[in-house]
Symmetry: D2
C-alpha cells in the first residue's frame, strides 16, 4: 500500500503528531507513506511530494506547525492562476490532482483539515480518490467529533496569557480585555475564561449587552475588586446593534476582529476604568501541543491507518466518549459545534459568578 | 445553608480549584462554607475548622496541594489513639464526628477523596450526615466517572519527564526506565508513555515477560536506535513469577515499589545496555493543575453545590461524555477503572510499535 | 526597627519575591515591615498600609504582579487633585508623606521602582526620609546595575511567543512581525530575537532601513526559507525618516507604538509576502518570575535589609559581576543602559546571519 | 576552512544550540563544518563523521541532548579495546585520531566538554591539532568562566521539582528531601534551594551536622510550619563522620549517591516526622534549554568561530561580566569553581532563614 497525506487550512498544534501517528502505524503494516506538501499543491506540482519514513517523523510529536506546510492557493476546484495580463483567475484543476494521484499509484489519501478542507476531500472522493479525513479545528467547532486536537493547546495558551494579564491587572487596578480565537463558537473563550478566573466572558452564542458588562465591573468594585478580566471570543457580538468591526478583504475573505478593542474602549468610556486590550491571535495556533493533544493526535493518525485497512473510505476519524468512530465525511461537514446554552460549563461559569453580558 | 467540606487521601492537582468552585458557587447562593482541616480531624478537634470566603479562595485555582490539608490519622471509624502506656490502639470516634457536625449546624458535607475516603463518607451518610462526594484519584481508577481531576496534570508531569529523559538517553545510547504512578491501573503509564514516545510500556493490566521487553530493545538496535525508553507503572508485574518488590510497612500499609529499578537491572544484565532508572514519585502529585484539570475541578466543585441545592445526598459528582452526573456513592466505591485491553489507546500504542512486553 | 516598603511604576515579575526577601531578612533581625500600598498613596492615606509578616509573604515568590499595588496617581511632588469645579490640578503633598512617615515611627523606606520612582525617592531622601532603592525595570535599562529582575522573565515570555510564531510562520510561508517591549533600549528584542532564531531584529540603538529589512527577507527566499521572523522593539526607528506612530496622550505621556504594525505593512507591500503582526504588550509584564529572576529578586530584597543595617541610606542595590554593590541613587538615575553596538550579543547575532536592518 | 566539532561527557541542555551557533557562524564565513560523533569516536572510525549545514542545525536550538552523541569509550589516550581472550585493555590510539584529523584536512577542532574533555583536548593540542575549547558543565564548576550553559536549565528543572514537592509536603505535613546534582559543588542546590524556598540546603562546601538539620525542622514546627523542604547536593557530606554512601564501580568510577535517602532516614528517625526522599538525577540533564542557556550557548558557539578566525588556538571560550574572553585551556583545567562561603547567595540564604546544617 502507498498512502498520501496532506494538511490543509490554518495550522493547529498536534498536526505533526498526527503525521507521526500515520507514518508509524502505516510502517508497522509495511506500507509506504508520502507527504503532499502545501495542501493539494504537491499533487499539482509533484516535486512537492516527500517520502515520510519513521526516521523523518520520529522526533516531531512535540513540534508545532506542520512539516507538510498548508495550502497557500487553496482549493484545486477554484485554483487561482495568474494570467499573462497580470490578472488572477479561478480555474478548476481538480482533474490534474486526480490524474497525478493515480499516476503515482497512491492507494489512499489521508486529508487532515477543517471544514473547508473536508469539503474538498469529499469532492475528490466523488472523483475517485479513496479518502480518509481527519478533522482539524483549533476552535473545536466540528460537531461530528467531541473534541479535536489543537483545541486543548489553544485553551492552554489562552489561559496562560490570562494568568499573566491577571497579575498586571491586579497590580494596576485595570480592566484587561483579551480577545481569543473563536469566530463562530466560544469554546476557547469559555474554557480559558473559566480556567483563568475571568470576570466576564463574551461568546458568539450569547449576544452581549455592553452596559451589563460594565455593570459587572462596577459591582466588582463595590466588593473591593478594582480590576477585571474580560475574555472576548473574536466572533462575540452585541445584542441588536453591532459593535463588531468587519473587514472585507480584497480576496473576498471577511474578517471579524477588533471586537476586543471595541469592547475595551466602551468599558473605558462607560466606567472610567483604566482599560487595556490584547489580541492573542497567532500565539494560539503555534507552539508544542499539550500532552492531551499529543495523545489525541497520535490516536487520530493511527485510526486513519486502521480505517484504510478496513476500507472505510469517505469517512472521517471522530472521537465520542473516548471511543474512535468513523463518521461519513458528508455527514460531518457544515455542522457547526456551538456551545449549548445549557451546557455544564456555562452553568459552572454562572455558578462562579462569571457574567456573559446578558 | 452552612456547608462543610474536607479533602482526604493523597493530594492531587486541582483540589484547591475544587474548593474554589464550591466556595464561589455556594457564595452566589448566599450560603456559608467551612473547611474541615485534615480530613475529619476538624470535626474531632473543631479548632481545625476555617471559614472559606470568596476572598480566601480567590487565587487558589492554580495552587497545587490542598489548603485544607489531608488526613494524617485517617479513618474516624478506626481512629488511632495513643494509650497511656504508649501503645497505639484503634477506636471508633465516628459518633463524635457526627455530633460535632450537628452541633455546628452544618447542613451538608462535601467530601473530596478517593475510594477510601468515599467509603468513609458512605458510612457517615448512614449515620445521618448529608454528604455529596467528589471523586479524587490521580490514577484515574474510579470507574464511576470517565475522568478525575489531577490525572491530566500527572500525565503531563510524567510526559515532560519522559521528554527530558529522551534527550539524555539518545545522547548516551542508554536505556532509561522510568517508574510512574499506578498501583492498580496503567492509565498514567499508558497516556504518558504514548505521548512521550516510549518504546515499552509496562502496566498492571498486562503482565509482562522481561525477555520480550529485552527483545524489543534488541530489535531497536538492529534498526539503528541505540537507546530506549521504558515506562513502568508502579504496579506492573511480570507473567507468572514476580519481580515486584513488596514492602510491608509497620503501619500495615503494603507498598509496591522498586519495579522500575528491578526492570532496569534485568535489562542491563540481559542486553548489556547501559541502563538507568528513575522514580518520578511525588513529583506527579505536586504542582499547579493543567488548564484541563482546573476546568474539571471547578466544574466538580460547582456541581457539588448544585447537588446540595437539589438534595441529591449520598451521590458523587461524575463526568460522562462531557456531562455531569450524580452517581450513588455506594455504587461508585470499590469499582476499579482498569485499562480495557481493547481500548483505543492500547490499539494506538501497538500501531505505533510500542511493546507491552507480552 | 520599623521598615516601610513600596513598589512604583509598571509591574515586573519578581516584585513579590523582592518583598518576600525584605520581609524574611528583616524578620530574622527582629524588625517589623510594613507595606505602603499604591506607591506613596499609603503615606497619604495611611489606611493603605499593611503589616507584612513572614506568613503573609511565605508563598508569594512565584506570584506575578505586586501585592502592594503600584502608584495610580504617581508623584507626591506633583500630586493630581480634583478641584471642586471638576478640573484637575497638580499639587505638592510631599510634606504630608514625610510627616506621616515620621508619625508612624518608620526608620527606613525601601523604594522599589524604575528611574521615575528612584528620582522621587531621591527627593524624599533630601527631605529626611532614610531611603534604600531597589531598581526595577523590565527593559533592563538602568546602567548602574548589570541586570534587573523581571528582565529574564520578559525575555523568556517573548522568546516563547517567538517560538510559537515560528511554527505558524513556517507552515504558512509567512513573515511574522512581533513587537516586544523596549521604548529606549533593545535588550528584550535582542535577547529574545537571538534566542528565538529571528531573522531580523530592529532596536532603538540601530536605526533601520526598511528596504534592507526587505532585502534580508528576499535573500532568505533565495536560499529556500519562505518565511521570516522579524522582532521589533517598540522604540525601534527607521534611519532619517520616521515610520513610528507617536501618540501624545492628554496626560502628557508620549507613547510610541504601532511600529511593529507599520513594519509589517511595509514588508507586505514591498515584498508581496503574506505578513502578520503581533504586539506582545502586557504579556511580558505578567506571570510568574523565572528561577533566575526569583533568585535575583530575593537577593535584592535581602541586600536592601543589609544596607539598612549598615546605614547605607541614599543608595540603591546593584549587581555587578555576581556581587551586590551599593550605588548612590543620585548617581544611578537618568543613566540609561543602552545596547552597546560592539557588544558580544550584537556580534553573535550578526555571526548567526541576523540582520539589524542597517 | 574546514572545521571539526565534537561533544564530550554528560549531556547538558544547550549543547545543540552551541552546535548551531558554530555552524551558522562558520557558514557566514563560507567555512565547512563537520560533526565528529561520539566524542573522538568519529576520528577513530571516520564513518561517524557528519556534514553540518545550516539546514541540519536550523531547528535544534531548543532541542535537549546533543545531535553528535557523546563519548562512550571516552579517552583516546586510554582507549578501551577488547582482546581476543575477551579481556579489556587500555591502549593509546591518539596518533590515529591525529592522523585521521590531518588526512581529512580539518583546519581546527572545536571541543565542547567538561574538565576531562578539556584535558584530552589539551593533549591533542600538544600533538598538533589546533583546538578551541568550549566549557560544558551542568554543575557550573569550572572556575575559568563565570557561568556555563546548561546550569540555568538544571537549576530551573530542580526548582520546578522543589515547587511541586512543596505543595505535597504542605498538604501532608511531611519533610521532603530532594537530592540534586553537584558532586563537588553546591551551585545547583544553592540556586534551586533559595529560589524554591527550601528550609535547609546541604552542599559539599559546608559540611553539615544532621542534628542541626533536625533542629531547624523542630524550630519550624514551633512556629507552626509542620513541613519542610531539604535540598541536598549529591556531594554533600556531614561534619567529621560520613553518612555518604560511596559506590566503587567495577569500571573504577566512584559514585557518591544516596546521601539524600540517608539524610531522609536520619530526619525521620530523629524527629519522628513523616519523611520522603526524591532523587532528581537525569531529569536535570535533559530537556530544552532555558532562554538564558539558549543565548549563552549561541554566544559560545559564535565566539569559538571568531577565535578560530583570530587564530586563538589552545584557548577556551569563557564569560566574565557579560564579556567573552579567551582563556588558555591549560590554565582552565583542574580549577574547580566551588561556592565561596562569603558569596552573596549564601548570605541571602542565611538572611532568609535557610539553614546549611552548620
Amino acid at each position: 500500500m502507498k498512502i498520501a497525506m496532506n494538511t490543509g487550512g490554518g495550522d493547529a498544534p498536534g498536526l505533526n503528531a498526527v503525521i507521526r501517528g500515520v507514518v508509524l502505524a502505516a510502517s508497522q503494516k509495511g506500507w509506504e507513506v508520502f507527504g503532499i506538501k502545501y495542501g493539494y499543491q504537491g499533487l499539482i506540482d509533484t516535486k512537492q511530494i516527500i517520502r515520510l519514513t519513521p526516521e523523518v517523523v520520529w522526533d516531531i510529536t512535540n513540534l508545532g506547525g506542520t512539516i507538510l506546510g498548508t495550502a497557500s492557493k487553496g482549493d484545486p476546484f477554484k485554483y487561482l492562476v495568474r494570467n499573462s495580463d497580470g490578472t488572477v483567475a479561478e480555474t478548476d484543476i481538480s482533474d490534474k490532482v486526480v490524474s497525478n494521484f493515480k499516476a503515482l499509484n497512491f492507494d489512499a489519501l489521508i486529508a487532515i483539515g477543517g471544514d473547508g478542507s473536508l469539503r474538498i476531500a469529499s469532492e475528490f472522493m466523488k472523483k475517485g480518490i479513496p479518502i480518509i479525513g481527519i478533522p482539524k479545528t483549533i476552535d473545536n467547532d466540528i460537531s461530528a467529533t467531541s473534541v479535536t486536537f489543537g483545541f486543548n493547546t489553544a485553551v492552554n495558551t489562552a489561559t496562560e496569557a490570562i494568568d499573566r494579564l491577571h497579575t498586571t491587572a491586579k497590580s494596576h487596578d485595570r480592566v484587561m480585555v483579551v480577545e481569543v480565537m473563536g469566530r463562530n463558537t466560544g469554546w476557547i473563550a469559555l474554557h480559558s475564561g473559566v480556567s483563568g478566573s475571568a470576570d466576564v466572558i463574551l461568546i458568539p452564542e450569547i449576544p452581549f449587552d455592553i452596559e451589563k458588562v460594565c455593570n459587572k465591573i462596577r459591582q466588582l468594585e463595590l466588593i473591593g475588586q478594582n480590576y477585571a478580566i474580560v475574555v472576548v471570543a473574536e466572533g462575540a457580538k452585541p445584542v441588536g446593534g453591532d459593535i463588531t468591526i468587519i473587514e472585507k478583504r480584497s480576496d473576498g475573505v471577511v474578517r471579524l476582529g477588533g471586537i476586543g478593542k471595541k469592547v475595551a474602549e466602551e468599558i473605558a468610556s462607560r466606567t472610567g476604568k483604566e482599560t487595556r486590550d490584547m489580541v492573542l491571535g497567532h500565539l494560539q495556533r503555534g507552539g508544542a501541543p499539550t500532552t492531551f493533544d499529543r495523545l489525541l493526535s497520535l490516536r487520530f493518525g493511527a485510526a486513519a491507518v486502521r480505517f484504510i485497512a478496513e476500507g472505510k473510505f469517505g469517512t472521517m476519524v471522530a472521537l465520542h466518549s473516548s471511543k474512535i468512530h468513523a463518521v461519513p465525511i458528508d455527514e460531518a461537514i457544515g455542522k457547526m459545534n456551538t456551545v449549548p446554552l445549557d451546557s455544564d460549563i456555562i452553568l459552572t461559569a454562572r455558578s462562579l459568578g462569571i457574567s456573559f453580558g446578558n
